[in-house]
């Protein structure tokens, strides 16, 4: 007993959790400050959150190439975690930038919104840096609970309530699966530490086809695949994405999804590398299913947020292709893709934030009629994001898809790559349809278009810059992604 405590005490390494610790401190400080300020003042919260994210980002950046392990190997702030953390931070920062004016317009200028985003981001960072089942679970819960609240943030709106409740119920259910899987794996291997599980399974080859191991693997995967919104665990996504406040939809579709991928990737690679043929075969099927389901159903959607939800499912499918490839270029492709996806998807949602009227009833294809020429800047921006989502060069989406499919081809999955590319072809149809409505239909009524607040415009400009930087000069970021994978 004495030994155990001593071990843990000796192993405390604040550096391993410093960035997320700072972020949480900022979040809690913000909560305290809010108590002393009158309701409805939110400007300070935006600034403080942004500063918090920037400081966190600085510490993540300085830790690059200098991995920190701590707490008896429960946390590892390595390049992998750092790369993903940057993705989360970018995602959170862009979300916060576009939120303030949106919340005001919708009549919810509530500053608790911002600490929740910070907590969700910190949870995501723990998921990416967790090397112990418990750390990953802890991160997942912190992230998810913040998101449940955020999804249902507009408590006066039925849709938002529905989104929050649905997400909570299904999310809790999937967490159950995850935890069950963890328990089974713990039962098999006697450890919750990822590397130890991996070593144990390797040295005890007879355990590999033990039903308990396989059940554990499947249940764990189910939990993660739910968070990723991969088919057939995607049912929650469209309703939640449609009902949640638009910036939160943007946030959910990029950051937490990336976090789930990070944890999934690490668990698979650390614990189950001995079962690689089995889980790649499983993911092969799921990747194809996810891509097809996402793309085909997206075609029928008329609500843009819902359409982007299905497109986000499809994109999860592309990223799963990188996991199936399970080689260096595929994995680093995933890291790259999630960053690229953050820019293009958040950009698209930022345009929607400005395109929507109060209550957002007009975020349908019809509602966007003539939008492109009425608001040329937003039209061009949306066009760029849509082209990036389609995966056309010279945008980030193309570079990301290129790496992922190159990984699949290198690993010999040519048919998977072909299916992926064919799916991109399907996706053209519904992305193009948005453009068709934006540019080729005349607006039905001449209603007053919403103003263009500076912060949202800045968000969009940053996202455009990111899309083009990653699209034209993907080399440097890809180099970093290479250093980040195992």
């Amino acid at each position: 007993m004495n030994d155990l405590v001593q071990n843990a005490l000796l192993n405390v390494n604040i550096a391993a959790i410093l960035p997320s610790l700072i972020l949480v401190c900022f979040g809690m400080g913000l909560l305290l400050i809010n108590v002393f300020l009158p309701r409805g003042t939110t400007r300070h919260a935006v600034w403080i959150s942004l500063i918090g994210l920037a400081v966190t980002g600085f510490f993540v950046y300085t830790g690059w190439g200098n991995p920190q392990y701590g707490f008896n190997d429960a946390v590892a702030m390595d390049n992998f975690a750092a790369f993903f953390s940057i993705t989360f931070l970018v995602c959170a920062a862009l979300t916060i930038l576009m939120s303030d004016d949106y919340l005001r317009r919708e009549g919810y200028p509530v500053s608790e919104y911002y600490p929740l985003i910070l907590f969700a981001t910190a949870g995501a960072m723990w998921m990416a840096s967790g090397t112990d089942m418990m750390t990953i679970f802890l991160g997942l819960e912190v992230m998810s609970i913040s998101l449940y609240v955020l999804a249902g943030f507009f408590r006066g709106q039925v849709k938002s309530n529905e989104a929050g409740l649905k997400y909570f119920l299904l999310g809790a259910f999937s967490t159950g699966f995850l935890l069950y899987g963890m328990a089974l794996i713990y039962g098999v291997s006697g450890s919750t530490r990822l590397t130890e599980i991996g070593v144990y399974l390797k040295t005890h080859a007879s355990l590999l086809d033990n039903p308990m191991t396989l059940a554990g693997l499947v249940l764990l995967s189910t939990g993660f695949l739910f968070k990723i919104a991969a088919a057939p665990f995607h049912m929650w996504a469209p309703d939640v994405y449609e009902g949640a406040p638009t910036p939160i939809t943007a946030f959910m579709s990029a950051g937490p999804k990336a976090a789930a991928f990070a944890a999934f990737l690490r668990v698979m690679e650390y614990c189950f590398f001995t079962l690689k043929p089995e889980w790649t075969a499983m993911l092969w099927v799921l990747a194809v299913l996810t891509m097809v389901v996402g793309n085909v159903i997206a075609i029928r959607q008329t609500n843009i947020k819902r359409m982007l939800a299905y497109s986000s499912i499809a994109h999860a499918g592309y990223v799963l292709v990188g996991m199936v490839a399970a080689n260096e270029i595929g994995y680093s492709g995933i890291l790259f893709y999630m960053l690229a996806y953050t820019f293009m998807n958040i950009g698209a949602f930022a345009v929607l934030v400005l395109a929507g009227k109060k209550g957002e009833d007009n975020l349908t294809l019809e509602g966007l009629s003539g939008f492109g020429f009425k608001k040329p800047f937003l039209g061009v921006a949306m066009t760029i994001f849509l082209f990036s989502l389609m995966g056309l060069p010279p945008t980030a989406g193309f570079a990301g898809k290129f790496y992922i499919f190159a990984g699949a081809i290198k690993a010999g999955y040519i048919w998977l790559a072909v299916i992926g590319v064919l799916n991109s072809a399907i996706s053209l149809y519904y992305y193009l349809r948005v453009m068709v409505y934006m540019y080729f239909r005349d607006p039905e009524e001449d209603y007053a278009w919403v103003a263009m607040p500076g912060a949202v415009v800045v968000t969009i400009i940053i996202a455009i810059a990111g899309v083009f930087y990653l699209g034209i000069m993907p080399g440097e970021v890809m180099e970093l992604a290479k250093q980040a994978v195992f």
Partner: protein, 495 residues
Amino acid sequence: MTAASLPQFPWLTLLVMLPLAGALLCLLHGNRTVESRWLALATSLAVFGVSLYLFFCHGDGGSGWLRYEDVSWIERYGIRYVLAMDGIALLMVLLTAFLQLAAILLAWRVEEKASYFFALLLLLESGLMGIFLAYDLILFYLFWEIALIPMFFLIAVWGGENRRRAALKFFLYTLAGSLCMLVAMITLYQIHGDQSGTYSFVIGDLLQTKLSSTQEVWLFAGFMAAFIVKSPLVPFHTWLTDALTEAPAAGSLDLTGLLIKTGIYGMIRLAFPLFPNASRDFLPILAVLALFGLFHAAWCAYNEDDIKRLLAYSSISHLGLVVLGLAAWQLTAWEGSILLMVTHGLTTGALFVLVALIRERTGTRSLQELGGLWGQAPYLSAMFLLFSLASLGLPGLANFAGEILVLLGVFQVHPVWAVIAFAGVVFAAAYMLRLVQGTIWGPAKVKRTLPDLTAREWLILLPMAILVVWLGLYPAPFIAPLHGTVAPLLLGGMP
């Protein structure tokens, strides 16, 4: 493929970037129609100037290239920014710059969202230049898609009644094809990298790849999917007739004169040299598709009432002849094919201009309602007659030189193909004469007074007419750059 690495002035980059810069400037001019108009004209003039300079001052880029520019881009994956120009590319660049000038003059009177229109035209020019010059697969693919996007918008925003349908069809057809090409590109890159240890997308490096015959056939099929749809050979041609019919005048001109040529250019530059064995096996099938297209399109043209659609079919028919020339795999036929690509761009391009002018004046494109234009607008009709005759291959005018070279070349290798193709050329005369008869001759069905050609329209048509006559009488200067280029391509392709 290392070029003489003397720091040369990057003329080729200028060709690509100048229109791009012009496009951005036009976009920034928002609602100022007049400024953007002149800006576009100035840009395309400058590009034309550069391409003329390149035509008259042949450089030497080393190893058979006229010019070669090579800059490292995404080092890690062997993706480089390589632009290279040989004789074929030179001709295509010249044609692009020339027709683009005509297109911008033709679009002079566009008032609706004009600055966007000109920006898209210039973006298209940039993409086309890139396609003709890129010597790296990823760079090629980049420009291939860049050329697609502006055309989509040109059709969809400024097009005719069924514009949305036509634009979507155009986009989906061509993009589905080019995605197949993308998979083949990455696979080829992977195979080459695994073999040689150096991963590279530069075409010159990939030429050395050793492929098993199954691999070669599949990869070749991937590339050809993109090129056959774009060229378009007959079963995949329906997007073109729709797109050409619905596109605005300047768009039709670019589409028929340049964009569909990129498919054939892709075959010459990529598919044939990269997969010599597979392409040689494929030649008979290609010839059958080409001949079938030649007749099918000619037949459709003969029965068509809408003169714009008629010309669209005639384009497909002519391209059948071009592809037949390639399928013969013979020096004369290839030179003829390439020349025919250029002259077809001029003649059919000019006819599309004239159709737009007729439509502007009479408000109709139907053969049943037209007729007797000669009495109403003699100069316009004379031009129409000249280009129609050139298009059907009258000796002394542009298309004749190309057609006769193709037929001669094909005859030496496959006499039967040539004989069948001859019959097709006769067919061309039939529908072209019907077109001429229905529009400019005969009694005028509606009494109208039509304005004849304006100064701006003379400015578009006269240079084209001069070139058409010149190319018909003395095509040698335009064939000269091909001499050094085509022969090695044929040899490199032949095992």
